[in-house]
């Protein structure tokens, strides 16, 4: 096991982590400000990927597709918030879960109706289509490095937005006391729409960047949604800082598990079974970590006010 391989896996873990952060930042913001459990967040991820693939295919430019993914997911977010989600803020979580689950089905079948059942083609831009040689002779895809960079930039941008701007101030105030800031004359309905659209746009961005690495297909959002929920539960629901830390933790633990556990299992059982045993344990590792963290800190790493 060479140091280069370890560094490569570390980068892989980071890349998975920042991608999960893009997904979970919106999810946790929406929960923090509006108290809404949004199962349809994975649908915005899918909308972003499909918008990117469709526009990239039509224009030949990945970058136009990326812009379309932001715009498309944000537009879908605004539409859903104004038409449906707005009516759910005062209902209990079970109603929200039910309604947003219905939205998953509507988005999935709607996308299938528009784009068909077969996966779409979306490739990474030629500019990033090569492998860089890192110190130590390690070859690493530039696109994945760019995804890490994008994630860091978004994290920084969100931090500045929340801590330094008027909108951020309102978001923080909204997290603390919705009624009070409404009473103080802030248009809470508009704030809700903006936060929801922002969250959806981030999910769409994640969908587009990841869609280029993976496959753009109906139902692609749900597996990521489950991981994003693990992330925000670990990080503390409502905390963006917690989402960042949780995402990196999940990304690194998941990658390390897939890499190390089959090897460790190989020490105890015959090689033919080691792969099965190792990958079996690896697939539940992040849930074990989540359970441990919840046992020690029941509200997650960065519990917000509530």
């Amino acid at each position: 096991m060479s140091p280069a391989l370890l560094v490569e896996q570390l980068l892989n873990g980071l890349q998975l982590g920042v991608m999960l952060f893009l997904m979970s930042a919106g999810l946790t913001l929406i929960f923090g400000v509006m108290g809404l459990i949004n199962l349809a967040h994975g649908s915005f991820y899918m909308v972003g990927a499909f918008a990117c693939a469709a526009i990239a295919a039509a224009t030949g430019s990945f970058w136009a597709g990326l812009a379309a993914s932001l715009a498309g997911a944000a537009a879908a977010g605004v539409l859903v918030e104004v038409a449906i989600i707005r009516r759910l803020y005062d209902r209990d979580h079970l109603d929200q879960v039910l309604a947003t689950f219905a939205l998953i089905l509507i988005f999935s079948e709607g996308t299938r109706w528009l784009f068909g059942s077969f996966p779409l083609y979306l490739d990474i831009p030629p500019l990033l289509q090569w492998a860089a040689t890192l110190p130590g002779g390690l070859q690493y895809p530039v696109y994945r490095l760019a995804v890490i960079g994008l994630g860091v930039a978004v994290a920084l941008g969100l931090f500045l937005l929340i801590s330094r701007t008027r909108l951020g101030m309102r978001i923080r105030a909204g997290e603390n006391d919705r009624e009070m800031i409404a009473a103080l004359g802030v248009d809470i309905r508009r704030l809700n729409t903006i936060v929801f659209a922002l969250g959806a746009a981030l999910a769409g961005l994640a969908g587009a960047t990841v869609g280029a690495l993976q496959s753009v297909q109906v139902g692609m959002g749900e597996p990521v949604l489950i991981l994003a929920f693990v992330v925000i539960v670990i990080g503390g629901i409502g905390s963006v800082r917690g989402a960042l830390l949780g995402a990196l933790l999940v990304g690194l633990v998941d990658t390390a598990g897939r890499f190390f556990l089959p090897r460790i299992a190989g020490l105890f059982v015959p090689p033919a079974e080691a792969g099965l045993v190792g990958s079996g344990i690896a697939s539940m590792l992040i849930y074990v970590v989540m359970a441990l963290i919840l046992a020690l800190r029941p509200k997650g790493l960065f519990a917000s006010h509530a």
Partner: protein
């Protein structure tokens, strides 16, 4: 007036009786039409319906329902179709875990099941059943062919599949024929979309080839990421990883990849040419092997129905066993465990005027059965 009504009622009853006498054959198709696996189900349905349409028969009714790739839903639909719709034959399931849930209950209720794709080892060996037929293959077959092919130029192989029954069948099948050294064996999560950790291990393993079974979206994700990784280890896989439904989404990264199949669009026989033309005319796309398999399943059921009703299980079974069809695959017959005996080819992904598809390179197995037939006692 009253008499007229009475007469009309009697007439209606009589015509009702008449219709009952020539009951149409009801076929229940349960397949995956929503969710990530929907592409496979849609090809299955379309291939099947093409054969029904071409046959011109009018006394056949196909009920199609979506299982959403959920075993519990598939079982419910099967029970409903058998108990309230009175179907005689069921078919269409794509995924082995769903078939394992449905097939035993179907055969226990004295109905036929003709599989269009899923073919788990458990139903080919000790668990075989006179009412269960497989028109596709046995799960291991295409992997076995790649194992045989890998023997030629590869001394060490890295092998990888998802951690579920068909994934295990896959690597078992590959190893059954591959005689070289296994540099690494890895099971990934079902539905996994990021393969960076695995790709790093393939490169580090020192293998001179990688055999990868990742159907659907998993394969798309893997191939795209593999192409970017800068790895020079050649990838090969069974036809499922590189079938027509995913090639467009993988793009150029799939070009030149060797894989295996019982059919490819350039297979030279009249039935294949006719099928390819008709499928393209009807659906305006290229068929995948799933469509071919379903097309043959429909042909088999219809051919048996010419001589017998499914309610007469002995006669219908005997008629199915004859496999009296013109398969696009060419030679097709049933083994003792009612799974196909057929040729299996090495295929290669090529760019045909901008469309990626598979072309046949050579035949790997002639009249290939499966390893489980000997365990089947019927």
């Amino acid at each position: 007036m009253k008499t007229t009504t009475a007469a009309l009622t009697a007439l209606a009853l009589l015509t009702g009786l008449g219709a009952a006498a020539a009951d149409p054959l009801k076929i229940g198709m349960i397949t995956t039409l929503s969710g990530p696996g929907a592409g496979l189900g849609i090809d299955t349905r379309d291939g099947f319906m093409l054969a029904v349409k071409q046959s011109g028969v009018t006394d056949v009714e196909v009920l199609v329902e979506d299982d959403g790739q959920k075993p519990e839903l598939a079982v419910q639909i099967a029970d409903k179709m058998i108990q309230s719709e009175d179907v005689g034959v069921l078919t269409g399931i794509v995924f082995s875990n769903l078939l394992m849930a449905v097939a035993p209950s179907v055969t226990a209720q004295d109905k036929f099941y003709v599989s269009t794709n899923a073919a788990p080892a458990a139903l080919a060996g000790k668990g075989c059943n006179p009412l269960y037929f497989n028109a596709a293959y046995q799960n291991d077959n295409l992997h076995e062919a790649m194992g045989e092919y890998a023997n030629r130029d590869h001394k060490t192989m890295f092998i990888m599949a998802p951690n579920y029954p068909a994934g295990k069948d896959s690597l078992t099948g590959f190893k059954r024929y591959y005689k070289g050294e296994i540099a690494g064996e890895l099971y990934t999560q079902v539905g996994q979309t990021d393969y960076a950790a695995e790709i790093a291990q393939i490169r580090a393993s020192g293998a001179d080839g990688a055999f990868v079974f990742l159907p659907g979206g998993m394969g798309i994700a893997f191939m795209k990421q593999y192409a970017q990784s800068g790895s020079t280890v050649p990838v090969m896989g069974p036809g499922f990883s590189f079938s027509q439904d995913v090639l467009g989404a993988i793009g150029q990264a799939a070009l030149g990849v060797k894989n295996s199949g019982q059919w490819a669009k350039d297979l030279d026989n009249p039935a294949s040419k006719q099928f390819l033309e008709a499928f393209q005319a009807e659906y305006n796309r290229l068929p995948s092997i799933y469509a071919v398999q379903a097309y043959d399943a429909a042909q088999l059921i219809l051919s048996a129905h010419k001589t017998a009703e499914p309610s007469d299980t002995e006669a219908f079974r005997a008629a199915l066993l004859k496999a009296d069809i013109q398969s696009p695959r060419g030679k097709f017959s049933f083994n003792t465990n009612q799974h196909p005996i057929q040729d299996i080819y090495l295929t290669e992904v090529v760019d045909e005027n901008g469309t990626l598809t598979n072309h046949i390179v050579e035949k790997i197995f002639s009249d290939h059965g499966d390893a489980y037939a000997a365990e089947c006692q019927m």
